[in-house]
């Protein structure tokens, strides 16, 4: 019983972390049909920026509470700088290429950013633990958990709700869905697709960076975190169905729970539990749980 509870809590915590990272990826794919490998690098940049800004804040003796602001600032800054730079500077010239070519382009960006962040921040693990410990803990079923996990959960719920609202509740959202459904059509009816792309990619970058910034307090930020994260995020969005918001959420929860279960019950398989789930889901539902359907006229 106690163990089941632990599995649930650990799984959900992991899921909320996964979701924040995956949701940006699935959004960008849904709108732009780009599976963005550099999403992992943006995640890393967010984490690095968070350690720098947070460190700067504390170094000046400002109240530690402010570090949360720094985390947010890091996410926004990275998103606003890297997003437009990559979309306008690079991807824009590449639309119309095959999906794989676009994937490869983002893979190149990933390699470049990997070394760039190394040049900017060095190779030593960096950390900004204050926000993690600051909120204190809660105890349940004999297990102590940091309240920071609750914050993580809250943020991911907020992000999910906000996106769902924008997509379904606002005019911009409707436009976005029009683009998702049919690029040519929406261009024909006078939607400024190029601007939609710019905004979407920037938001995606921001979400990736936010994932990094929110993770930074609980990990050591160092080279390699981007690669480890991106494949995981891929798995989540593919399981959920590329381009589907609800899918990303469900995928994250599924992966989170399975992994937590494996850790508690069967540690040997933890290593590839995620990929096993991904393979299984794809076998049962070839386009993921919530595939976005495409009709074909002949």
């Amino acid at each position: 019983m106690q163990e089941v509870l632990a599995i649930l809590i650990d799984g959900i915590t992991y899921a909320s972390w996964l979701f924040i990272i995956a949701v940006g990826l699935t959004l960008v794919y849904g709108v732009m049909k780009i599976l963005n490998v550099a999403h992992g690098s943006l995640y890393a940049l967010g984490a690095y920026a968070a350690t720098s800004l947070g460190g700067y804040w504390l170094a000046h003796g400002y109240p530690p509470v402010g570090t949360y602001g720094m985390l947010a600032l890091a996410a926004i800054a990275v998103g606003l700088v890297a997003g437009p730079l990559i979309e306008r500077g690079l991807l824009r010239r590449m639309y119309g290429n095959e999906e794989v070519v676009l994937v490869l382009i983002t893979y190149a960006v990933f390699l470049i950013l990997e070394d760039l962040s190394k040049l900017l921040w060095g190779v030593d693990p960096l950390s900004i633990p204050e926000p993690y410990s600051l909120l204190g803990n809660f105890e349940i079923g004999g297990l102590v958990y940091p309240n920071y996990n609750l914050l993580l959960l809250a943020v991911s719920l907020l992000v999910g709700a906000a996106l769902a609202l924008v997509l379904n509740g606002t005019r911009q959202g409707k436009i976005l869905q029009a683009v998702i459904h049919d690029r040519e059509m929406s261009a024909a009816v006078g939607i400024n697709v190029s601007r939609v792309y710019l905004v979407t990619f920037t938001v995606g970058a921001m979400l990736a960076a936010m994932g990094g910034a929110l993770t930074a307090p609980s990990i050591a930020v160092q080279p390699g975190i981007s690669a480890d994260t991106i494949v995981l995020a891929f798995a989540v969005v593919v399981i959920g169905g590329l381009g589907s918001l609800g899918g990303a959420a469900l995928g994250a929860v599924l992966v989170g729970l399975v992994r937590a279960w494996a850790v508690h019950k069967w540690p040997e398989v933890e290593l590839f539990s995620v990929y096993a789930v991904m393979a299984l889901v794809l076998i049962l539902r070839p386009k993921g749980l919530f595939a976005v359907p495409e009709a074909r006229k002949i």
């Binding site: 999906e99 994937v103 893979y107 470049i112 990997e114 494949v231 290593l271 393979a279 794809l282």
Partner: protein, 310 residues
């Protein structure tokens, strides 16, 4: 047309052997490039069929481990046997997985193949009798029963690889010129029409999938023999990513292109390693971008343009 490629391939083989003979210090890089070229020839076939695998490392790794296991557990040191074993194991696994993979397209094909290669990675990391992430070593003694000449082992391995590459390329060229080869392009263009002409798209994809896997297995075995060591990295997604890159770099223009692409890739990487050890990834990244931007058709498009111009 066919004869021109045959001549071209023969010339390339001769040039290769000459290069290996004159620049022995290049033999290792060349052999690896050739091995990867063989893998990419297979990926080229898939790409012509309209599918790109982000998990070809799966078969590359299976090929390498099959060769290495023969040496470790059965004390077999024959290059030919190892090569065939690598191909067969890869092909056999592909024959089974193909039943499933043939249903998938686009990014889903890429992702599912990635999942399978990462599962193999996980299994190998778990298997401590296979050395986990450290992997284990292998060595070769003979080719088709004939013992390797003392002091010239590396050249023989290299020459063997070159011959294998020659055969693979020629066979692939013939295949692409055949009815089935034409169908590859047809499937990429319009599966519906292929079905409405009365041919099974899934069967064809399955066949091509097995062929490309066999080639990846051969490449893996060659690489393992050349390096003298195997480890799970062979199945990691970044390895497959490099294969995809070389495939795009080469383009689908000619069966010769993959080897050119692989050699250039290896050279660029070695150069970057030696001259900017801290930023070699960045160098690779920019190279990729430049190629994709200015040679969208792959390296071979250069030659094709020249031909059209002439």
């Amino acid at each position: 047309m066919r004869d021109r490629t045959l001549v071209l391939l023969a010339a390339a083989l001769a040039a290769m052997l000459a290069a290996g003979f004159l620049l022995p210090q290049w033999i290792n890089t060349l052999t690896i490039a050739i091995a990867w070229g063989v893998v990419v020839v297979g990926m080229m076939l898939m790409m012509r069929t309209g599918l790109v695998s982000f998990g070809q490392g799966l078969y590359y790794c299976l090929g390498g481990y099959s060769a290495a296991v023969l040496h470790k557990f059965y004390d077999i040191g024959d290059i030919l046997v190892m090569l065939l074993a690598g191909m067969l194991v890869a092909a056999a696994v592909a024959a089974v997985l193909g039943l499933l993979m043939a249903k998938y397209r686009d990014i889903f094909f890429a992702m599912l193949s990635l999942a399978f290669s990462m599962i193999l990675f996980g299994l190998l990391v778990k298997s401590e009798q296979l050395g986990s992430t450290d992997g284990f070593g292998l060595s070769v003694r003979s080719v088709a029963g004939a013992a390797l000449p003392q002091g010239h082992e590396r050249f023989v391995v290299f020459a063997g690889a070159a011959v294998v590459a020659f055969v693979a390329a020629l066979a692939m060229h013939r295949y692409l010129a055949s009815h089935l080869g034409r169908l590859a392009g047809a499937i990429k263009d319009n599966e519906l029409r292929v079905e409405y002409m009365g041919e099974s798209v899934r069967k064809l994809i399955h066949v091509n999938y097995v062929i490309s896997a066999a080639l990846a297995g051969a490449g893996g075995a060659l690489a393992a023999i050349t390096i003298g060591h195997v480890d799970p990295e062979m199945s990691f997604w970044t390895q497959s990513g490099e294969f995809v890159f070389i495939t795009i770099l080469s383009g689908t223009g000619s069966v010769l292109a993959p080897f050119l692409g692989a050699i250039i890739f290896e050279t660029v990487r070695s150069f970057a390693y030696e001259h900017s050890p801290n930023t070699w990834q960045m160098v690779l990244g920019f190279t990729m971008l430049l190629v994709i931007m200015f040679l969208p058709g792959g390296l071979w498009s250069i030659f094709q343009r020249r031909r059209e111009a002439a």
